[in-house]
């Protein structure tokens, strides 16, 4: 099932939470929805899952509009809201049974589905506990279980790993990856590494507008500027090496990283590479290279660069 978001706009008072956002998610794709807090991620997800009505624009899921056929869309969506609200006074089995009934799963299939969910989400040891007695990580699993119980084609997860410890984060990520092989998944987060690890495609949203739409690779390329090398050269005087590096034709600037260890940061001119020139320079002067690492711009930096203004 494809999700098509068309010119979605939602205002809260005078403030536009989402401003004319359009994008498309193909069936089977795992989309990472990124953005700083308050960027409009949650609002967009709420609109897709038929919780709020957009002021303008429309969302179509599998060809059905959220305005005309919310009941069909809701059946095909598994939604894990932000902060994972659950009925705290119910135990896991009762809660999952309630959700299964609401989804209209036939009665004879319900016990089987519940057991499947308990197994998939790793809730075996806790299944008779009250939800209020569970730790946050287990509650998150219950949240995932309720989103998955009716075997939806589309899964919308709003910050599924907030508040989890590193082990739990890894487990939940694995789970999402496994699910993502068969289903369309939209996942929001403000942690880049998470999105990079789990998603096929990244959508960065800021102040209600889409700033980037592409893969992690595209994103790097788009923000990549000049070549930057971390370079270690031994076998000569630091200052001589520095001078020589600066005199290379392709080099734009040179900085010291560590004078004692003779480490430099070499930035090349636009669309040039200085690797060969550096190597030739070393051969001519009998220097030797102790380190040569191309510095990749981190996704975090790109993210900051794109969302800071």
């Amino acid at each position: 099932m494809d999700i098509v978001v068309e010119h979605l706009t939602k205002r809260y008072g005078p403030q536009k939470a989402v401003d004319n956002v359009s994008f498309r998610v193909k069936g089977g794709e795992v989309l990472g929805f990124l953005g700083p807090n308050g960027a409009g991620k949650t609002t967009t997800m709420k609109a897709i899952s038929c919780y709020i009505n957009p002021d303008e624009g429309d969302v179509k899921v599998g060809g059905y509009s959220i305005k005309e056929h919310p009941e069909i869309i809701k059946k095909n969506i598994g939604y894990l809201p932000e902060n994972n609200p659950l009925y705290q006074d119910m135990n896991i089995i009762d809660f999952l049974e309630f959700i299964a009934k609401i989804h209209g799963i036939p009665k004879y299939l319900i016990p089987e589905r519940i057991l499947d969910m308990v197994r998939i989400c790793g809730l075996e040891g806790e299944k008779h506990k009250l939800i209020s007695e569970l730790s946050k990580g287990y509650q998150q699993r219950v949240g995932l279980a309720q989103a998955l119980i009716h075997d939806p084609e589309i899964l919308i997860l709003d910050e599924p790993t907030t508040g989890l410890d590193p082990n739990q984060i890894v487990e939940i990520r694995e789970l999402i990856k496994r699910i993502g092989k068969e289903k369309t998944v939209i996942l929001s987060s403000h942690i880049l590494a998470e999105v990079e690890a789990t998603c096929d495609r990244i959508l960065i949203i800021n102040n209600g507008r889409i700033v980037v739409d592409g893969t992690a690779e595209d994103l790097r390329k788009q923000a990549a500027g000049n070549e930057i090398l971390k370079l270690g050269i031994q076998g000569g005087d630091v200052n001589d090496i520095f001078e020589n590096l600066l005199n290379l034709e392709t080099v734009d600037s040179v900085d010291f990283i560590d004078i004692d260890k003779q480490l430099f940061e070499v930035q090349s001119l636009k669309e040039e590479t200085s690797v060969k020139a550096i190597f030739d320079l070393c051969v001519q002067n009998n220097y030797y290279i102790s380190e040569l690492t191309p510095t990749e711009k981190k996704l975090e930096d790109i993210f900051r660069q794109l969302t800071l203004h």
């Binding site: 919780y51 009505n53 939604y79 809201p81 006074d89």
Partner: protein, 241 residues
């Protein structure tokens, strides 16, 4: 329809899990039993096989209990965030409102059921006007219906349960006594309007043993108006967080 029952059933269970239901039933039966059989104008004092005293006590105690039961129904879900969970499942706004309505209505029904023993006991000790008693129960249920709807509406309007409960009670008190008092103080058209608005007029006419369509229309139209408004508020998602 199934969705409504699932929601109502879950809600009813949570009333029992949180002890609310037990407290309600115990207090309700305690009060009504005490005043019907032991104290004041009780059955033995009146010397008649009638449950009028019980209906008066129930009339008042339900008026006080219902806002306390409904105050959390929407406001609580909104605060806990579970409203979002429910409304993103295949549940329409109407189904949610009606489910909430039915859960409280069933609970009132459960609280009233043991009082049927009063009726059977009475039957054993004297000649009973059966239709008056049946209609008395009908009156109580219709009245509960109105107050539950008002309670649901205020629960949609205010996120603070206490505010919701107090507002429901203050709206309720108009129907319960103020319109009646006003009706007594005005003559002519104004008086009859207030008299028509007063819930006690209609309740009394039913418990006297007369079911007029006018009375039924009264109870159903207020309930429908409140439930419809609640649904509209819920649909607009203009809920106060």
């Amino acid at each position: 329809m199934k969705q409504i029952l699932h929601i109502a059933y879950r809600e009813l269970n949570s009333f029992f899990d949180s002890l609310t239901a037990y407290v309600l039933i115990v207090i309700f039966l305690g009060f009504s039993g005490f005043f019907t059989w032991i104290y004041g104008a009780d059955v033995f004092f009146l010397g008649q096989a009638s449950l009028d005293t019980f209906f008066t006590v129930a009339y008042w105690s339900l008026f006080i209990f219902i806002p306390a039961l409904t105050m959390r129904s929407i406001a609580g879900e909104l605060k806990a965030g579970t409203l979002e969970l429910l409304l993103t499942k295949p549940v329409s706004d109407w189904q949610l409102i009606l489910g909430k309505f039915l859960s409280t209505f069933f609970l009132i029904g459960i609280a009233l059921t043991p009082t049927l023993f009063y009726y059977f006991t009475l039957w054993g000790i004297g000649p009973v006007d059966h239709s008056a008693i049946v209609l008395g129960y009908l009156g109580l249920l219709l009245m509960s219906m109105v107050y539950i709807s008002i309670g649901l509406l205020t629960s949609c309007l205010f996120s603070n349960p206490i505010v919701a409960s107090l507002t429901a009670m203050s709206i309720g008190i108009f129907f319960h006594i103020i319109f009646d008092v006003l009706a007594a103080n005005f003559v002519g058209f104004t008086g009859s309007v207030f008299s028509f608005l007063s819930l006690s007029t209609h309740f009394e006419s039913i418990t006297r043993g007369v079911v007029d369509t006018k009375d039924l229309i009264y109870f159903f139209s207020i309930s429908f108006f409140c439930l419809y408004s609640s649904k509209m508020i819920l649909s607009n998602r203009n809920l106060q967080v």
